[in-house]
């Protein structure tokens, strides 16, 4: 197959000049080999820094209100009240999920996000409508972004009878993973909640990504329950837990035994670097062998008026929360929104021969400068095609 494209005059994350060749939407050569790719389209990279495409490990394409006029946040003291407020709001918004989700995809693709794991609300009111909308976006917007879907029981499973069957139907309809939500805090039934999720995962051979906000010793107990079931069912490497704030507030002994089980079960922990609550300690978890990755979570939706989906900014937020300042630490934070999140989504190592030609060219002299400066003037390639420049889709 003839080479589609060679980009010259760029620098790699090691600071050295390099060249990249793209063939059939994949990276066919990097470095000296790429310079010898033969007659093809040659692009001048203008000395920009080559970065892997950004992978958002946790987003809610169906929830966003982007595309609508700004809607003030409806406060709610409890998660249950916020769930109710969101369901009420959902009935009144004038734009469908396909339009709002498409607006969000356009926004994040322009900033360099090439793949996302999107949780999609499944409940007895919405049923599979949100999932169907996101699956249609997966088709219509595949040229911009790869979408993986999680059937997410935002209103609980046990407390919203009928949801278990809908989760099962969601997997049949094409959802990639089954989700969960605070087995104790929302469903008041840890075993009951986990029974449903793990049964669906086992039945369909799909993975799990469960939201866990429950704090302290309770959250840690739930994590260990999830790990034990994961090991018992042979689902190691297919289970993720999102948020897991509790990991940021455990005693040393509780942390050690919980982390050991998470590592043994090869469970990945997703964090967005939350501001008002404890967060999983990145380096301590990695030292215990626990995988950790990152994502945006809420982007202007019923849960938060904030968020923009910029994953380089997200890496910076994680640096702020973890007191990361040195170049190596900024690179570590960046890996959470690239290689680490990509691995959880089942993508191979980025920027390697044969990998999808999903990458960015940014104005920075080093990876640390790119993370610290979060310049928005990014050129984005998706499957070897230039899809964005200077913050705008092309």
């Amino acid at each position: 197959m003839a080479t589609d494209l060679v980009i010259e005059n760029i620098i790699g994350c090691n600071g050295a000049p390099t060249t990249i060749a793209v063939t059939g939407g994949k990276i066919s050569a990097i470095g000296a080999d790429a310079r010898n790719a033969g007659p093809t389209e040659i692009v001048d990279g203008a000395g920009r820094l080559l970065l892997p495409g950004l992978v958002d490990g946790h987003i809610h394409l169906d929830k966003t209100l982007i595309g609508l006029p700004f809607i003030p946040h409806i406060p709610g003291d409890t998660v249950a009240k916020r769930i109710a407020a969101e369901r009420e709001l959902r009935r009144t918004v004038s734009l469908p999920v396909t339009a709002r989700g498409a607006a969000l995809i356009a926004q994040i693709a322009a900033m360099g996000t090439v793949a996302v794991r999107s949780h999609v609300d499944i409940d007895t009111e919405a049923k599979l409508s949100g999932l169907e909308a996101v699956l249609s976006l997966k088709q219509s917007h595949g040229h911009l972004i790869d979408i993986q879907t999680v059937a997410f029981p935002q209103s609980g499973i046990i407390r919203d009878p009928g949801t278990a069957e809908l989760l099962d139907a969601a997997i049949e309809a094409g959802a990639d993973l089954v989700g969960g939500l605070d087995p104790a805090g929302i469903d008041n039934d840890i075993s009951g909640h986990l029974d449903v999720i793990f049964a669906i995962a086992g039945k369909h051979g799909v993975g799990i990504d469960l939201h866990l906000h429950d704090g302290g010793a309770l959250g840690a107990f739930e994590l260990r329950q999830i790990a034990e079931r994961t090991i018992a069912l042979g689902l190691e490497g297919k289970v993720a837990v999102s948020h897991a704030f509790c990991l940021g507030e455990l005693s040393d002994s509780d942390f050690a035994r919980t982390a050991a089980l998470l590592a043994k079960a090869n469970i990945a922990i997703m964090t967005n670097g939350p501001g008002p609550v404890p967060m999983p300690p990145v380096k301590r978890l990695q030292a215990e062998g626990v995988r950790i990755f990152a994502g945006s979570d809420n982007i202007r939706d019923a849960w938060s008026p904030f968020g923009n989906g910029d994953l380089i900014e997200r890496a910076g937020i994680i640096c702020d929360r973890q007191d990361f300042r040195a170049d190596a630490d900024l690179a570590l934070a960046f890996s959470l929104v690239t290689a680490a999140s990509g691995a959880v989504l089942g993508r191979g190592a980025p920027l390697t021969i044969g990998a999808a030609a999903d990458f960015l060219l940014v104005r920075a002299g080093s990876l640390a400068e790119a993370v610290a400066g979060r310049d928005r003037d990014r050129i984005v390639y998706k499957a070897g095609r230039k899809i964005a420049e200077a913050g705008q889709l092309v």
Copy 2:
């Protein structure tokens, strides 16, 4: 005096259409009166939202490395090591403070900052050189930004003999306030450190703004010592403490007695919404009658590779740390970088008749949307003159 300018077709923070008139660099009318300002230059505000100019309550114009190629952060386990690393770095950078500070001023003025309180390092090596540079920027860049200076003993006072005399000389040379730094944590002598600062404040009739990173009960003890001295010397309303992380980690009883003394002494607390450490609880402090305001702190300097000086983003960071989501809470966070910081800097209430015509016109339908969206397409007026548009100085 003839009206210089009338801006029509704008909306106020209450959402209602309004008009603003500027005469001699000050606001001469707002609302219906402004529409009758008579023959003058009429500007179409294109439906933008009128916001007060942003006031940065804590910045270090002398420390920034903006204008230089990116310099990797030099890690240091202790504050003392970081101080040493910064002094070492300062000897080697190729651009003078006037150039780096000017680059930072250009950056923040373009985002809408109209006034800053800049701490300036005073130590036995730099002596008054940093202050002289910032005082020269105050003259050369007064059309963009108002600068207030604090003589800041970054290397300590007791541990760096000669600094006390330099702080005194700094006030003589034109610094507006005397600073301080962790009387316990850096100088290991709470009374000795405070004796020096309060003596200089008393001698010259200037205010105090002291950096306090010391945590927990120790930090709270220092806060009470500062408050007691403030009351004893009649300096109520003239003293600020920056950071005061300890206020975010006190027992209820320790918080109550510390906050009560801070309120009695009318001490203002500055926070930048720090990520890795506890932060002062905004609403709890206000409920106790303690003034709180905000600023950027480090912007790409030896202390952090992060920071951009955007005070609307800073308000959002504070929202994230304080779990602020509702419109009223976003407005509260915004007040910390406008009215509250302005009051600490001795500025009158913004957007009132007779106030400096320092304001922004942004693309948002409400204050909450402006804070949540932090759009960079801002039109900035300083003393009635348009100085920036779309993120660039004009």
